[in-house]
Symmetry: C2
């Protein structure tokens, strides 16, 4: 089977030009087929502020109202995405910048209004793996902004972690998929106060123990739940690492590798 690496980079990388440049060097040098999914970063918040658009938070979560959707479409779908594409082209990687709406790659449904109206936020319904395969067979490297679309022609703000795992899962039929989450720590830590306490391999059982003891904290839980689910459903490898250690992590010399249930 074909080897495919799906890599998610977060806002902490996007916000620092030098950090972004380093991770793009590493990404461009990776062998085999690859897909990059990027988050947003603080630029969207800064642009929104300057445009006088209020950030609405409900129970600690950002609401994507219509003006905020326009901002994330501009910043994630335009500025961040196209800058990454142009920088990858300069490194010899034939990148193509995409949202879920392009070539109907990732379709979603606007989240139903319950206790909270999240606004223009999408929950993924379908990934067009056939179209992805065609791009990969043409040696194109998809670069994804965290936006999807629905049947009514709305663009929808979509969680980048979820997008990465949905894409990875949809491509397991044709590829041996490695899914890498780059973030600001060197991996999952056994001691949150020590950056060097990276757990090299994490099983579901150990994860349950770390959760129970409170070592693995709230912010990590949705990420790890997502990651373990991907592993259960056919992704070959899931790795969590610092963006600066991408090359070593893919070669299994850094970060935390999640292991399936024994």
């Amino acid at each position: 089977m074909n080897a495919l690496t799906v890599i998610k980079i977060g806002g902490n990388v996007i916000d620092k030009p030098e950090a972004l440049s380093r991770v793009l060097d590493a990404f461009a040098a990776l062998e085999g087929d690859k897909i990059l999914i990027h988050g947003g970063g603080k630029v969207a918040t800064q642009v929104a502020e300057k445009l006088g658009i209020q950030t609405t938070m409900v129970e600690g979560r950002r609401i994507t109202d219509r003006p905020m959707l326009d901002v994330v479409t501009m910043v994630y779908g335009g500025l961040v995405n196209k800058q990454i594409v142009a920088q990858l082209q300069a490194r010899g990687t034939n990148a193509i910048g995409l949202t879920g709406a392009d070539a109907h790659l990732v379709r979603s449904r606007k989240r139903a209004v319950g206790a909270i109206d999240y606004g223009y936020v999408g929950d993924i319904e379908a990934v067009d793996s056939g179209q992805f395969q065609q791009f990969l067979r043409q040696n194109l490297t998809p670069v994804f902004a965290p936006l999807t679309f629905d049947a009514e022609g709305n663009l929808l703000n979509t969680n980048a972690d979820t997008m990465a795992s949905a894409i990875a899962l949809d491509l397991v039929a044709h590829n041996q998929v490695t899914l890498v989450y780059c973030f600001e720590k060197k991996g999952v830590l056994s001691d949150p106060s020590s950056d060097d306490s990276v757990i090299p391999e994490l099983t579901p059982a150990a994860y349950a123990d770390y959760r129970a003891s409170g070592v693995i904290n709230q912010g990590m839980i949705p990420k790890l739940d997502n990651a373990f689910r991907a592993l259960e459903r056919g992704v070959t490898r899931v790795i969590i690492c610092h963006a600066d250690e991408l090359t070593a992590a893919v070669a299994q010399g850094a970060g935390t590798r999640l292991l399936p249930a024994a």
Copy 2:
């Protein structure tokens, strides 16, 4: 040969949601392969103003300095492009939003600094017609923002009219290409004060006469020069029409059709 329609829509359409919706209806209904190139519109100027970015004009031309490049990347490459893509998807057209940097489709060179430094403005050097053909064979409909890239990884602001003719010309080897420029008038007018004085067919000789007599004015001259050049170099049909008459114009019942030299 395969029939391909390359359509450029300008800022006057982008700025009015109802006008844009009408032209997308017409575009989606067009038979055969098609490519859409969109201009910018006033949104970029408005966003720049709100962000406190000064628009620098030199001899009546807008300069694309670094902050302005970021604005056009956000607005043209993000907001306008992705909204059009999502709206075309809702109409059953499998659109893919692109800049020249994506899949290295349109590469340019940063304009040399002469008497005027235009900033991050690109003059087109190469169009990857093989990649275009692959997209068209996959029944994808490219939707282009007026941005290209150079070998150093810069994004470059690029004239949308020029981009449309460069793409059309590069695809004549494999297609019978119709190039349509939609703008705010019903066609080339023989009496600038009367919107109904559309010249149905315009030869290079008649164009020279209208220029000499001053009937065809400054703003139209670069557009028409561009258009006649495309015709000379192998584009089958060039049509200039109002965005609201796209369907009729492609069926040759509206607008101005340019004719080759006798």
